[in-house]
């Protein structure tokens, strides 16, 4: 058994969460509420230490004026706390939404559309590879057809949309199968923690 308090706390909380598998119970509920409080507090402290202090307090302390702009925007957002000042937050939110919408447009255009298209137009591979290239093209076109909203799924369009669904289902199955692996890995690591670091019944470090 471990002699470290931190390990004991971690192990007991681990067991509290595992108890959820049986059913909702006070131990799980305790862990849940502890987690919400501790994580919200941690995030707040991290933001203070890594964003607010260096980018606002220290810069203003050095006589910079520019940080007053986000400071004011930030204070406006706090207006949401009261009904009467709630409308003020709109300005900061509008700014914030504008930023991320603006970044999204070119980024998605480049990485998700052009890069994918550039790859999709590669010439077919020779020999048997051509069969795969053809299947990829077929799948690509039929899945696009499934996501074509301006026409009903009838006739040729309906047929290709249905083929598209098949490709989608295979992709979903692949994701599901792959995910099983990831989740089991996490469980293995938790068990390694309980059995090795806490109970000390597994070898290795």
């Amino acid at each position: 058994m471990s002699h470290d308090i931190g390990t004991w706390v971690a192990a007991l909380l681990t067991l509290c969460v595992f108890s959820f598998l049986y059913r909702d119970n006070p131990f799980y509920r305790f862990a849940e509420h502890l987690f919400v409080g501790a994580s919200a507090g941690y995030l707040l402290a991290v933001q203070y230490q890594n964003v607010f202090r260096p980018n606002v307090i220290e810069k203003i302390g050095h006589g910079e004026l520019l940080p007053f702009v986000p400071l004011v925007l930030g204070i406006l957002i706090l207006g949401r706390a009261w009904e009467r000042t709630s409308g003020l937050a709109r300005w900061s939110l509008a700014f914030y939404v504008g930023i991320y919408s603006g970044i999204a447009v070119p980024s998605y255009l480049q990485a998700q559309i052009f890069a994918q298209l550039a790859d999709a137009v590669k010439p077919f591979q020779p020999g048997w590879g051509a069969v795969n290239s053809g299947l990829i093209l077929l799948g690509f076109l039929s899945v696009l057809a499934y996501f074509f909203f301006s026409a009903p799924h009838k006739g040729l369009h309906g047929f290709s949309a249905r083929t598209g669904i098949w490709f989608l289902m295979v992709a979903f199955g692949a994701s599901f199968g792959y995910t099983v692996m990831a989740r089991v890995s996490l469980l293995i690591a938790r068990m390694q923690f309980l059995m090795r670091d806490w109970m000390g019944i597994l070898p290795g470090a």
């Binding site: 509420h33 987690f35 957002i77 300005w91 603006g102 980024s107 792959y178």
Partner: protein, 205 residues
Amino acid sequence: MRLGPIVVTFLTGATLIAIFFIPNRAAQQTQSVILEWADIVYAFALLLGSISLWISHQKKLQQRAEGWPYSAVTLTALALVTVLGVTQGVGGETIVGKIYDSVNAPLASTMFSLLAFFIASAAFRAFRARNIEATLLLLTAIVMMVGRVSIGEFIWKGFPPLTEWLLDVPNLAAKRAVAIGVGLGAISTALKIILGIDRSYLGRS
């Protein structure tokens, strides 16, 4: 009254799109400053959220509502971690760092590992060969689950290449089409906001 914020969104959004096409150093630096401002606004939003979290649990505590002792847990954790983190820092050697390692980290990884159990029960319940689509999903998932681990190779040498093929051909085709569709959807959603076509984020009028 709503016009102001809409203009703000348009200007920031359009500026960030433009910056993407301008390699000029001044433009790139402007982008960094704007993103830093966004971070500061986020920090205030986090403060706002944490205040509302505090108020709602305090209310439960005061009214002795059902489960109020749990609210006390959340409040204590929130206050403690925030105060310690702001005054003493959040690095590995601080108290908050230790709390993080023995409370937040194990809770998060154990919650995450519960998915290993859920994925098994979901597979058992929902993977039923009811029609072609469901059967394709089920078969692909089974091949992936068996083929990606050592035992798959043990059973049949062809499993690993088959999983590779599934990922490289049908999966790639479907994901590529979805990526392009999602990319277009994302661009149009972002453009709608920048151009003021969709104002729902401000509360429609």
